[in-house]
Amino acid sequence: MNVSEMAKKIGLASFNSSGDKEIRGVYISDMVSDIIGIGEGNLLVTLQTHKNLIATANLVDVAAIVFSRGKTPAEDVIALANKAGIQLLGFEGDTWALAKKLYEIGIR
């Protein structure tokens, strides 16, 4: 499933418009030191909204980033994500609620 289809099905907010990559898995983490070890193509779900996260997400080539609990990235973070071609999405509920929705629409 691609990012745009997933975002539409769950009703995620969009902070930018940067590509429409295929989602090959999901990874949930708030720690950059953890994310650096994941494979490419993951949908990254996190509470962190800083530049360090974008720098790491770009290195491991994520499909997109979803900020849960209504977290909003700053303008300079969005600008860096735009450069890196990383779609930034937002979800008002908590991470567990998002994980359930992702599973329900077939993302495993």
């Binding site: 708030d30 950059v32 030191s33 650096i36 494979g39 193509g41 962190q48 360090n52 071609g85």
Partner: protein, 184 residues
């Protein structure tokens, strides 16, 4: 005596397929000398990063900061070659802040449309000595981060921190945890 066993691939002629091994969490600790103003970095795997001042020959090192970070080695899945990245303290994304910086220039020479330059940071932050991250380590890091990229226009280039022009003015983004206490 002859054998029918197939000739095994040597590590030298292997087209490596790297995987991360020995991934461990810890702290990137930055210290500065009060006298000569040099800075060094260490990776601490202690539960709490060291913050005490100490003397080492002519240097008086003081704790300047620490960040939760991770460290890893690389191993080839085909030939089992192992590259220890003991001399890599952290990785940093170049923000292209200084056209005169060697890191900036390294990213300008690539033919790829979207080249992202990451800097492998060694322990000698101020580069008081001539040593930096090993050639073998850099080669493996470049191969590892480049091997799974699906966008043909995207390129990850990892360069040594000895190319950096100024540690004081550098605006690079270190791949380390910040703001963990500000989450809630």
């Amino acid at each position: 005596m002859t054998t029918n066993m197939p000739k095994t691939k040597t590590q030298d002629d292997c087209r490596h397929q790297w995987k991360m091994t020995h991934l461990r969490s810890g702290y990137l600790v930055v210290e500065g000398c009060l006298h000569c103003r040099h800075r060094i970095s260490t990776f601490s795997e202690e539960p709490v990063p060291p913050i005490d001042d100490y003397r080492e020959e002519e240097h008086f090192w003081s704790h300047l900061g620490d960040f939760q970070a991770s460290k890893f080695d690389l191993q080839c899945e085909k030939c089992a070659k192992n590259v220890r990245l003991a001399d890599v303290m952290a990785i940093m994304l170049c923000m292209r802040c200084d056209p005169e910086c060697g890191v900036y220039k390294a990213g300008s020479g690539s033919g790829a449309r979207k080249t992202w330059v990451y800097v492998a940071l060694c322990a000698d932050t101020s580069h008081d000595s001539v040593t930096c991250v090993s050639e073998e380590g850099l080669r493996a890091l470049n191969e590892y981060f480049g091997q799974n990229l699906h966008d043909p226009d995207k390129k990850i280039l990892v360069v040594p921190c000895s190319l950096r022009r100024s540690v004081d003015n550098c605006q690079g983004v270190i791949l380390a945890d910040v703001g963990l206490t500000e989450l809630y």
